[in-house]
Amino acid sequence: MSLPENYLDYPARRYGMDHDRYDWSDMFARKPIAWPNGARIALSIVTHVQHFPLDMPAKPFKAPGALSMPYPDFRYFTNRDYGNRIGVFRILRLLTEKGLRTSFAVNGCIATRYPALLDAVVAEGHEVVAHSLDMGKVHHSGLSADDENGIIAETLRLLRGATGQPVEGWLSPGRAQGFNTPDLLARNGIRWNLDWANDDLPYRMQTAEGTLLAMPLAYETDDRVVANEYFQSEPEWVQQVKDRFDVLYRESAEYGGRVMSLPLHSWVSGMPYRVEYLREVLGYILDHDGVWTASVGQIAAAADSQV
């Protein structure tokens, strides 16, 4: 095997990023962000509500959490579905107890499969974020723009119709995007997305159809990542989330508002033995002054004129 001569060509070696989606910026040198009422931290809780089809394709890759046993995978199909029958309601109950109105990233197919679930999320005052159609629909550059646009449009039709909410936020399964995804999201009225893991603050992205905000979503303190990829214990998850909060809270005194994001999965944190750890995390964070718990959409709206 040998490499072509142009393996040593670097067409995007230039100042800033090697693409045109956003500009580089130093998070510690930006104009401080001000949250409503002088809050130091915007607490952004995003609970994933997901459907993993029994026949989900393996190519070009599977979204994390995908079924992994030989077909028909009774084990993980039903384990993930546990989140939709029990787990999500356990989390909802805790959020209601704490008086929190948050965000739920919901696969579009939930609107037709489990309308009662979506109704409960909406009735408790939570925001619905589009999470594509189902966990078998990963976004990637092998999809034609028409096919990908079709998935996005159908997801939004279902969720907007079922919730009466504008549904302007997006989270891709596995946070995967193709080259076209931001353009297609903007074309369909999406104003912010949660896929990019490169910042603790909102920032502006460019698309062919206007701008889009990138909203922070913690990657490595996500409950599923900690439990199912790192195989770390619940107390270890709690410690890392607290440590994350402490640093962001400390920085907010000097650098302005920060976003503390807390990604949850109904089939992970909604388990009976885990939910009390979630209670501990919420209690710890909410014990601090200057924590504003809001939907991602509210945080995006507050940031929009500042970034």
Binding site: L3, D18, H19, F61, W196, A197, N198, D243, R244, L248
Partner: protein, 311 residues
């Protein structure tokens, strides 16, 4: 290129057991040289494929992994640098040299602190696998030129991009004037590397102190990483009463610079800096001291004696 038969041994160093080696002394009578090597990297959004290794797990663009690494250059580097400033450590930057073009602001902040830059290739998504010798010489030349142009520094060290290597890599690094390589993990002391020309040192770097191994492979918690660093330090510090050793902490700002990880690391290096016998050095300084103290020649001679059966 025809398929070369595989070798059973790297053939780059002679066996030299720990007991009975010539004693290493560090400047100022310090016991243990501790150096921190932040990998300041740029991973490409749409890199070309290399038949031996595909850069991303998902088809380009792998937005999640790309953006995770980009976190280091937007946010993580500042937290890492603040922790090192506080503990009085200068960095020896393992640099994807294209970062000089992309983010000169980061380069300037490192240079202003007197940090050393060594080469970690052009991009971390370009591997030397399947390169011809001339292609690999070209990236070495590019690295020397780019670092000189942006920082005025003459490269002394090398860590191959993503630790990809060819069997001839060490020879052409030494031929180009590189003084130390970080690609081998066989020792806690600097050791001579057998190259065709020049003098090359294998500088103790580390897999197991390296946050990318700790976090991405071993899935260790941040506080346990802090514990690992202290235990490694305590043991090497004790053993360095007999002869100077080297401890390296390789970092990646996209990992150690995360808010849930930075404090555990900062506390660990504060602990190290609190010991009088620690020499807070750079890779270049350790290589220079190794030559100046006669250790390079003494180790070379000891290894030759050992190979001849004088044990």
């Amino acid at each position: 290129m025809g398929a070369e038969p595989m070798q059973s041994d790297l053939g780059l160093y002679d066996y030299l057991p720990w007991p009975g080696r010539p004693r290493i002394t560090w400047p100022g009578g310090k016991k243990l040289a501790v150096w921190i090597a932040p990998n300041i990297e740029f991973y490409e959004y749409d890199p070309p494929n290399n038949p031996t290794r595909t850069p991303w797990g998902r088809p380009n663009p792998d937005v999640l992994q790309y953006s995770h690494r980009d976190y280091g250059n937007r946010a993580g580097w500042q937290r890492m640098m603040a922790a090192m400033d506080r503990a009085g450590f200068r960095g020896s930057v393992s640099l994807n040299v294209a970062l000089c073009d992309h983010h000169p602001e980061i380069i300037r902040a490192c240079a202003d602190r007197g940090w050393e830059f060594f080469s970690h290739g052009i991009y971390n998504t370009r591997y030397v696998y399947n390169m011809t010798v001339d292609q690999e010489r070209e990236i070495i030349r590019d690295a020397f030129d780019t670092v000189r142009k942006h920082t005025g520094q003459e490269l002394a060290g090398w860590l191959s991009p993503a630790l990809s290597n060819n069997l001839w890599t060490m020879d052409i690094l030494a031929e180009a004037g590189i003084q130390y390589t970080c690609d081998m993990f066989h020792d806690d002391q600097p050791m001579p590397v057998k190259v065709k020309s020049g003098k090359l040192i294998s500088m103790p770097y580390s897999l197991e102190m390296n946050d990318v191994i700790v976090y991405n492979s071993q899935k260790v918690t941040p506080r346990h990483y802090g514990e690992i660093i202290r235990r490694q330090f305590d043991q090497l510090y004790k053993e360095s009463d007999e002869s100077g050793m080297v401890m390296c902490i390789p970092l990646h700002p996209y990992l150690v610079g995360q808010p849930h990880r930075i404090d555990a690391f900062a506390e660990a290096i504060d602990y190290i800096a609190g010991h009088d016998g620690v020499w807070q050095a750079t890779g270049r300084e350790i290589a220079e001291a190794y030559h100046a103290s006669g250790a390079y020649d003494a180790m070379t001679a000891a290894a030759a004696r050992h190979a001849q059966g004088d044990r």
